[in-house]
C-alpha cells in the first residue's frame, strides 16, 4: 500500500519537474561524457546484527561517446577486521541512441569481471565485493517528456573455488538480475547557473532470481542525491527487502553513501 502511495506521488511529480538518470543503485544506458574522468568513493553497509561496512573506491573513464569503463576496489570489515576483498572491472557500451526534442531512448550492453576473496555461504551472487565471477547484461533507458525510466537485465555466473566454500552452506553458481529505476529533479525549479545545487529523488526496484530453483528477492531502494557545482555528486540511499526467499543473501537492508567527482573533457 505504502509502495503505491510512493508511486502515485512520484507520478504526480513527474508532470512538473525534470527527470534524472543518475541512478544510485543501478547504471543508466546513457554514458558519461567522452574523454572525461570520474572518481567515486562509496560506503555501503548494514546495522544488524552489528554494524559493518564496505568501502568502494572507483575510477570511471569515458573513452568515447559510446564506451565507458569503471575500475573498482573493495575493502570491508564484514569478515572481522578491515581488509581488501578484491576488485572489479565494468564496461558499458551504448549501442542505441534515439534522441528527439522531448524524449530519448537509449540502450547499452555491459559486462563485469570481478574477484573477491570472501568466503561463500549463499547462492546469491554480488560481484561488487562478495564474489568472483562474470556478468553480462542490457540496460534500456527511456525519457518521455519529464519522466525517465530505466530497466536492467543481467546474467551473472560465479567463478568460485571450492576452498572458499563454507561447509554445509549453499554454493553460488548463477543468478539473474533485474531492476527498474526512476529519478526526478526536485530542485531547482528554474536554473540560474551551474553553481546551483540540484536535488534529485530516486526510487528503484532491484531483484534477483536463481534460475535453477526460482529462489528470489526484491528490494525497494529510495535515494536522494545532491549535485554541487554541476560536477560533484553526493548520493544517500537505503535498500530494503520487501519479498524474498534467498537465504543469506548479500546487500540486504543496506545503506549506501557515495561521493563522486567529475572531471569533464580532461583526456586528450
Amino acid at each position: 500500500m505504502k509502495f503505491f502511495k510512493v508511486l502515485t506521488v512520484l507520478a504526480l511529480m513527474a508532470g512538473t519537474v525534470k527527470s534524472q538518470e543518475l541512478y544510485v543503485f543501478s547504471e543508466p544506458a546513457s554514458n558519461m561524457p567522452s574523454k572525461s574522468i570520474g572518481v567515486r568513493l562509496t560506503s555501503e553497509g548494514f546495522f544488524q546484527p552489528q554494524f559493518a561496512n564496505r568501502f568502494i573506491p572507483e575510477l570511471m573513464v569515458g573513452f568515447n561517446k559510446n564506451l565507458m569503463v569503471h575500475v573498482q576496489g573493495f575493502a570491508s570489515d564484514m569478515d572481522g577486521r578491515y581488509r581488501v576483498e578484491g576488485g572489479s572491472l565494468y564496461a558499458k557500451y551504448r549501442f542505441l541512441s534515439m534522441d528527439e526534442a522531448q524524449s530519448h531512448f537509449r540502450a547499452a550492453a555491459f559486462a563485469r569481471l570481478s574477484s573477491s576473496n570472501r568466503p561463500t555461504y549463499t547462492e546469491d551472487i554480488n560481484l561488487e565485493g562478495d564474489n568472483s565471477g562474470a556478468q553480462a547484461g542490457l540496460v534500456f533507458t527511456q525519457l518521455l517528456h519529464k519522466l525517465a525510466l530505466s530497466g536492467t537485465l543481467s546474467y551473472t555466473k560465479s567463478f568460485e573455488n571450492t576452498g572458499k566454500q563454507q561447509h554445509h552452506m549453499p554454493a553460488p553458481d548463477q543468478i539473474l538480475g533485474y531492476s527498474l529505476s526512476s529519478g526526478y529533479l526536485l530542485l531547482p525549479f528554474v536554473y540560474k547557473n551551474y553553481n546551483q545545487p540540484n536535488f534529485n529523488l530516486y526510487f528503484e526496484v532491484l531483484g534477483k532470481t536463481n534460475p535453477e530453483n526460482g529462489r528470489s528477492y526484491m528490494d525497494l531502494a529510495p535515494a536522494v542525491q545532491v549535485i554541487i557545482n554541476s560536477r560533484t555528486r553526493i548520493d544517500l540511499g537505503y535498500r530494503f527487502e520487501v519479498a524474498g526467499n534467498l537465504p543469506g543473501r548479500y546487500n540486504k537492508n543496506m545503506y549506501l553513501a557515495r561521493v563522486e567527482f567529475n572531471f569533464f573533457s580532461v583526456l586528450k
Binding site: M32, P33, K65, S97, A101, Y194, N200, S230, N262, F264
Partner: protein
C-alpha cells in the same frame, strides 16, 4: 601617383575586410537529452575544446548554448555536432548567423562561403548580403523524425547524404533553411 594611392587604399580596405569578416559569427545551439546541469556542464566543457569558439553562454532551462565564434578562426559545423555527441547528447537545433558578402545563391540554392559549400533548401537564384540567420538542417543537426520529414519535403539529392559533387570533387554540403 594619386591613382596608385587610391588603388592601394582600395585594395588595403578590401584585404582588411576579408580578413576580419568571420563567415559565421554566432550560433544558437539547442541540445537534446540534457536532463541536468551536470549534463549541460559536460557539454559546455566538451564544446570549449574547440579552438574556434570564443564564448559560450548556456540557457540551462531551454538547453540552449549561445556561441560566439573567434573572428580569425574558421568554424567547423560538424565538429560542433561531434563535441555534443561526445558528451553523450544530440544536436536538436543549430541556428547560425552567416555573414554573406554579396554571395550569389545559384539556381540549386547553392553557394560557397569561406570555402564551405552551403545549400539552401527554401531559397535560390538570389544574392545574399550581410548577416543572415539560417538553420542547419542536416542529419544529426535536427531530430531524426524532422530530418525524415524534411528529406521527403525537399527531395534534394545531396540532402540525404550531406554531400555532393562540387567542381568534380565529393564535398561536404551543409543544408540550410532561412
Amino acid at each position: 601617383m594619386k591613382t596608385i594611392h587610391s588603388l592601394i587604399l582600395f585594395f588595403s580596405l578590401f584585404a582588411a575586410g576579408s580578413v576580419s569578416a568571420q563567415q559565421i559569427s554566432s550560433a544558437e545551439l539547442q541540445v537534446t537529452g540534457l536532463t541536468c546541469s551536470m549534463c549541460s556542464q559536460a557539454t559546455e566543457k566538451s564544446l570549449r575544446t574547440l579552438d574556434f569558439i570564443e564564448t559560450i553562454t548556456p540557457d540551462l532551462n531551454r538547453n540552449i548554448f549561445v556561441i560566439e565564434f573567434k573572428k580569425d578562426k574558421g568554424v567547423n559545423i560538424d565538429q560542433i555536432r561531434n563535441k555534443v555527441e561526445d558528451a553523450g547528447f544530440s544536436v536538436g537545433n543549430l541556428a547560425a548567423v552567416f555573414n554573406f558578402n554579396n554571395a550569389k545563391i545559384d539556381e540549386n540554392g547553392q553557394t560557397i562561403l569561406g570555402g564551405t559549400v552551403y545549400k539552401f533548401l527554401n531559397t535560390k537564384s538570389r544574392v545574399l548580403n550581410g548577416p543572415v540567420k539560417a538553420n542547419v538542417v542536416d542529419r544529426d543537426f535536427i531530430a531524426g523524425s524532422v530530418f525524415k520529414k524534411t528529406a521527403a519535403q525537399y527531395k534534394t539529392e545531396t540532402y540525404a547524404a550531406g554531400k555532393g559533387t562540387v567542381n568534380g570533387k565529393s564535398t561536404r554540403i551543409y543544408h540550410l533553411t532561412i
